[in-house]
Amino acid sequence: MALSLKVNGKTVAPEVDPTTPLLYVLRDSLGLKGPRFGCGLGQCGACTVLLDGQATRSCQVPVGTIQGHAVTTLEGLGTPESPHPLQQAFIDAQAAQCGYCSNGMIMTAKAFLDKNPHPSEAQVRQALAGNLCRCGTHMRIMKAVLGAASGQGASA
C-alpha cells in the first residue's frame, strides 16, 4: 500500500505495511541516515525526528498514522556544507564522540529551542533528560545547545 508523507519538504509514497514504524521507513525505504535505531522502545531518543515541528520518537510511530504529515529529519536541517546553526553549534563544540546519539540530541534541541529560544542550563538538561548518550559528551552537548541559543538570540 502506498502512503503519502512529506519528508524534508518532499512528498514521498513508500510502499510499506502501514504498521511499520516510521523509523524503518525513513532508514530503509527512503535511505535516510539521520534517524537512528537505538532501542525501538521509545527510551533513548536516537530515532528522533520532527513531526509537524514536534520532537517525536520515530520508532514508536506507525507510518500509517501520519499520512500527510510533515516529517523533518537531521538531513532536513542542513548539510555539511551549509549546516543549520544548531548543527554548526554542535560542530563548533565538537559535541560528539561516536555521534550515534547526536541525531536525537540535535532534533530534540531543535524543537525545544523553537519554543524556548533563551533557556537556562537547567532547562536544557530537562529538555534532553530523555536522550541517552553513552560516550559521555553531555557537557559539550549542553554547551552546543546553549551556544546555539545565544546565537539565535543575537540574530533574532
Binding site: 510499506v16 505495511d17 511499520t20 514504524p21 524503518y24 532508514r27 530503509d28 535511505g31 535516510l32 541516515k33 539521520g34 537512528r36 535505531f37 537505538g38 532501542c39 525501538g40 522502545l41 527510551q43 533513548c44 536516537a46 529529519t73 537531521l74 538531513e75 536541517l77 542542513g78 548539510t79 555539511p80 556544507e81 549546516p83 548543527q87 554542535f90 560542530i91 565538537q94 560528539a96 564522540q97 561516536c98 555521534g99 550515534y100 546519539c101 547526536s102 541525531n103 540535535i106 536544557v124 538538561r125 530537562q126 534532553l128 533528560a129 530523555g130 536522550n131 541517552l132 548518550c133 553513552r134 560516550c135 559521555g136 559528551t137 553531555h138 557537557m139 559539550r140 552537548i141 549542553m142
Partner: protein
C-alpha cells in the same frame, strides 16, 4: 565470487610497471571497483570512500571490491602504512580503527605534520584485511601509543625520499628545499609530491633511524584540529555500520535461547509461514534465525516464530554471586611479594581489612551491534564494527568453513563500543544466515539482544588488608582479588563467537588465558611490605570480556578506596597521605594539579560541618607504567535516602605528548561521565537462567539531569612519547566518588554501584 586474487601490492606493482611507476593510493579503489564490483554499497561506508571524504566525511555512493587478500605489504615497509596519490594526497593504512574516539584525526595530524600537508589531505583507510596491516585489536588505549611512532617514522622516511627525488629532479641541493602543502620548492622551481613518488619510491624499508621533526617546530601536532568525522555525523551524511546497504541484501534476526545454556526443544516454522517477506527460517543446532526481505518483516518474524527451549538454570542466584566467586577453585598468581606481609600486619599498631565488590556491567552501546555478510561458496565479504578485522576474519572463516584468505573483513565504524560488545557476534550471525540463503544478509541486534547477549565486564571481588605505623605511614599492604579473564575476543576461534557456541557441535573455543583482571592490581605507591595475589576464576557465569579499562576499574576502586581508609585511620589528609607514599614527580604533579583545579582544602576525612557534602580523590597510573591520572569527585548525599548527587568531577591527566588537546579532553570527559555512571548506577541483573537487564529501564545510565560538571587539566609533555588515553580516566572515578561519600557522611560504601540503598545502609 570468482574474483582474481588481487592485492594492493600486486596492483601497485602492476601499476608501477605499466605506468612508469606512479603509486596509486586512493586511485586503487577506483581501479578495483572498475574491475570487479560484486556488491554495490549505497553510502560512504567503504574505506576507499571514507578515504575520499576527509574534511566533510561525506562521499558519493561507491562500490566495494570483493577482492581477497593474499597479504598486505610487510609492516617494515613504508607502503604498508602510507601511499601518495597522483594528486599529492596521502592515504594512511591503519590496522587500528576509529571507534568514535577521534584517533582518525589524531593520526592524520601526525602524518600531516611530518609531511607538511594540510590535515585534510591525509585520508585514512582503517581496518580492512585486504588493505591494512594486521595490528591486532584496537584496544587497551594503545592505538596512539603504538601507531604514532610507526606513522611518524614512515612519514618522516617519506619526507626524506621526497627531498632526495626533488633534489635531483629540480637540480637543487636538498638543504635548499622546502616542503609545504604537498609541493617541494627550491631554486625558484617546484614539484608536487604526486609527481615525485612514481617509480615505487615508497616500497622501501622504514629506516631504524629517521630524522623526525623537532617538536618545537610543530604546527599541527599539539593543536586542537577539529575532528574530521563530526560535520558528517551532525548532518546525517556520515555512514555508520548500521547504515551500510549492499545490493540484494536481505535482513536477518536471530532468535536467542530463553536462557544461558538452554537447548532448542521445539520450533514451528509454520508459525511464520504466512508472514509477508519471509525468506527462510534457519536452524543450525541451537542457532535459530529468520531472514526476510525487509527489516521490519524480519523483526516481526523473529517475534512471531514459535520456539521452546530446555532451560538448564546455568546461572547462580544473584544474591550468591560474590559467595560463589570466593568459593570457586582458582588459579592463583602472586604478582608482588616484597616482604613478610603477615608479620608486618601482626606487628602493626593499627590494621584494617575490607572487602570490595564490583558487579557485572554492560557496554551498553547506544547503537545495537550490526553487520552485513555476503557469503559465497568460495569467498565471503563481511562488513563489521569489529575491533580486530584479522582475528574476526579467522574466526569467521572457521565458522563458515572457508580458508582465512577467502574471507575479507572490512571495518565500518559503528556506535561507540567501549570494548568487546556484540559486534563480533553479530558478524557471525550475519555470516551463518547469509550462508544459509546464499545472499547478502544484514543483521542488527535488537536492544534486548544487546543487553542480554553482549559479553559483560565481569564481576570481581577484593579483599584488602593493611596497616598504618605510629608515624602514620602504610606499614603493610595485602591485596587479593577474584576475577575471571576479561577477554574472550574471537582470537581466530569460532567458538568465541556466540553463534559458534550455539551451532551443533559447538565450535572449539580459544584458549585466551587470563587477561586483564590483574590490570592495575599493584599500586604505584612505594610502601612495603606488599603482597598482591590474583585468584583467577576459570569460568564466569555470564560471558566476560573487555569493558573499558578491564580489571583496572574494579582494582583501582578497591586500591584507592582502601588508601582512603588507611589515610582516615592515620588521621591524614587523603592527598598528603598519597603524596607521602609516591616518589615519582609526574605522579605527584597530576595529584597536585587536580588538587589545585578542585580547590582542595587539606584536612582529614570525613568533613567537619557541612553534613552531606564531600570530596574524594583517587589516583592511578595506567598499567603501572603509562599515563597518569588523578580525579577529584564532589558529591552531595541526601542522608535521609542515601541518594548521591554528583556535583563535579575534576581530572588531571598526563599521557605524555598531547597530539590533539581538544580531542583528548573530549575523551577524558567521556570517560569521567561514563565511569561515574558505572560507579553509581550500573549493574547487570540476572535470574537463574538469563540476564534480566534488558533495556534502558532495567539498565539505567546517567542522564542529563544527573551528570556532573566535568573539568579537565592536561599536563602536556611534548618532548615525551605519546601514551594512549582511551580508557585510563575510567579507572579512578568510582573510588573518588566513594571517598567523597565517606568525606560527606563518614559512611564507607565498598560495593559498586553506590546505590542509595547501599549508602543508606552504610550511614
Amino acid at each position: 565470487m570468482s574474483d582474481p586474487q588481487v592485492t594492493r601490492r600486486q596492483l601497485l606493482a602492476g601499476a608501477g610497471m605499466a605506468a612508469g611507476g606512479l603509486v596509486v593510493g586512493f586511485a586503487l579503489g577506483r581501479v578495483l571497483n572498475g574491475a570487479a564490483p560484486p556488491a554495490t554499497v549505497a553510502g560512504a561506508a567503504t574505506p576507499a570512500a571514507s578515504a575520499a571524504a576527509t574534511g566533510s566525511a561525506t562521499a558519493a555512493a561507491t562500490a566495494i571490491p570483493a577482492v581477497v587478500a593474499t597479504g598486505t605489504p610487510p609492516a617494515s615497509q613504508i607502503d604498508a602504512w602510507l601511499s601518495i596519490g597522483r594528486d599529492g594526497g596521502v592515504t594512511v593504512y591503519s590496522g587500528k580503527v576509529e571507534l568514535g574516539t577521534g584517533i582518525e584525526t589524531a593520526l592524520s595530524q601526525v602524518v600531516a605534520e611530518e609531511l607538511d600537508l594540510a590535515v585534510g589531505r591525509v585520508a585514512m583507510i582503517m581496518g580492512d584485511t585486504t588493505e591494512t596491516p594486521n595490528q591486532g585489536y584496537t584496544a587497551g588505549s594503545l592505538t596512539l601509543q603504538s601507531t604514532v611512532p610507526i606513522l611518524r617514522n614512515a612519514a618522516a622516511a617519506t619526507r626524506q625520499i621526497l627531498m632526495g627525488l626533488a633534489s635531483s629532479y629540480l637540480g637543487v641541493p636538498a638543504a635548499q628545499l622546502t616542503l609545504k602543502d604537498g609541493v617541494v620548492t627550491g631554486g625558484g622551481k617546484q614539484v608536487g609530491y604526486g609527481q615525485l613518488v612514481g617509480g615505487g619510491g615508497l616500497y622501501q624499508e622504514i629506516p631504524a633511524h629517521v630524522p623526525v621533526k623537532d617538536y618545537h617546530t610543530y604546527t599541527v601536532v599539539g593543536t586542537p584540529v577539529p575532528r574530521v568525522d563530526i560535520p558528517g555525523k551532525m548532518t546525517g551524511t556520515f555512514t555508520y555500520m548500521q547504515d551500510v546497504k549492499v545490493a540484494g541484501m536481505l535482513h536477518g534476526r536471530v532468535v536467542r535461547p530463553a536462557g544461558v545454556g538452554a537447548t532448542l526443544k521445539t520450533i514451528d516454522p509454520t508459525s511464520v509461514g504466512s508472514l509477508p517477506g519471509l525468506v527462510k527460517v534457519v536452524r543450525l543446532g541451537n542457532f535459530v534465525g529468520v531472514v526476510a526481505q525487509e527489516e521490519w518483516q524480519a523483526i516481526q518474524a523473529a517475534q512471531t516464530l514459535q520456539v521452546t527451549w530446555n532451560l538448564v538454570h546455568a546461572l547462580p542466584a544473584e544474591a550468591d554471586l560474590y559467595k560463589d566467586l570466593t568459593s570457586e577453585k582458582t588459579v592463583d598468581k602472586v604478582e608482588v611479594n616484597d616482604g613478610d606481609v603477615d608479620a608486618a600486619l601482626k606487628a602493626a599498631a593499627k590494621t584494617l581489612s575490607a572487602t570490595y565488590t564490583w558487579p557485572y556491567q554492560a557496554h551498553a552501546s547506544i547503537g545495537p551491534s550490526c553487520a552485513i555478510a555476503d557469503v559465497g561458496k568460495k569467498a565471503a565479504t563481511v562488513w563489521s564494527s569489529t575491533q580486530g578485522v584479522y582475528p574476526l576474519r579467522d574466526a569467521l572463516a572457521g565458522l563458515i568453513g572457508l580458508p582465512p584468505d577467502g574471507v575479507r573483513v572490512i571495518y565500518v565504524e559503528g556506535a561507540g563500543c567501549y570494548g568487546h560488545n556484540g559486534f563480533d557476534d553479530v558478524a557471525a550471525d550475519a555470516a551463518l544466515l547469509s550462508q544459509a540463503v546464499g545472499k547478502p544478509v544484514r543483521v542488527q541486534w535488537m536492544r534486548g539482544d544487546e543487553f542480554i547477549w553482549e559479553p559483560k565486564g565481569p564481576a570481581m571481588q577484593h579483599q584488602l588488608r593493611g596497616a598504618v605505623s605510629a608515624s602514620g605511614a602504610v606499614a603493610a599492604w595485602d591485596f587479593q582479588s577474584w576475577t575471571p579473564t576479561h577477554s574472550t575476543r574471537p582470537s581466530g576461534m569460532p567458538g568465541n563467537l556466540l553463534a559458534g557456541q550455539l551451532i551443533v557441535p559447538p565450535a572449539p573455543p580459544a584458549k585466551n588465558g587470563f587477561v586483564g583482571g590483574d590490570r592495575n592490581a599493584p599500586v604505584n605507591y612505594t610502601f612495603s611490605p606488599r603482597r598482591v595475589t590474583i585468584h583467577w576464576l576459570p569460568s564466569s557465569p555470564l560471558r566476560p570480556s573487555a569493558l573499558r579499562s578491564l580489571g583496572g576499574a574494579a582494582n583501582t576502586f578497591a586500591n584507592e578506596s582502601f588508601m582512603d581508609e588507611l589515610a582516615a585511620a592515620a588521621g591524614a589528609d587523603p592527598i598528603a597521605f598519597r603524596l607521602r607514599h609516591l616518589h615519582d614527580a609526574r605522579a605527584a604533579a597530576v595529584i597536585q594539579a587536580v588538587a589545585k583545579l578542585a580547590g582542595w582544602q587539606s584536612r582529614p576525612s570525613p568533613a567537619p560541618g557541612k553534613p552531606g557534602q564531600g570530596r574524594g580523590i583517587a589516583f592511578t597510573r595506567y598499567e603501572n607504567t603509562l599515563a597518569y591520572v588523578a580525579t577529584v569527585a564532589e558529591v552531595a548525599v541526601d542522608t535521609s535516602t542515601g541518594a548521591i548527587r554528583l556535583l563535579h568531577v575534576y581530572v588531571a591527566h598526563d599521557c605524555g605528548q598531547v597530539v590533539n588537546p581538544d580531542g583528548l579532553r573530549n575523551q577524558i570527559e567521556g570517560n569521567a561521565i561514563q565511569s561515574a555512571s558505572r560507579a553509581v548506577k550500573e549493574q547487570v541483573t540476572f535470574n537463574r537462567d538469563q540476564v534480566t537487564s534488558v533495556d534502558w529501564a532495567t539498565y539505567p545510565i546517567l542522564t542529563f539531569l544527573e551528570v556532573p560538571q566535568v573539568d579537565v587539566v592536561l599536563l602536556d609533555h611534548p618532548d615525551q612519547p605519546v601514551w594512549g588515553a582511551g580508557e585510563i580516566a575510567t579507572e579512578p572515578t568510582a573510588a573518588a566518588i566513594a571517598n567523597a561519600v565517606f568525606d560527606a557522611t563518614g559512611a564507607r560504601v565498598r560495593s559498586v554501584p553506590l546505590t542509595a540503598d547501599r549508602v543508606k545502609a552504610a550511614l
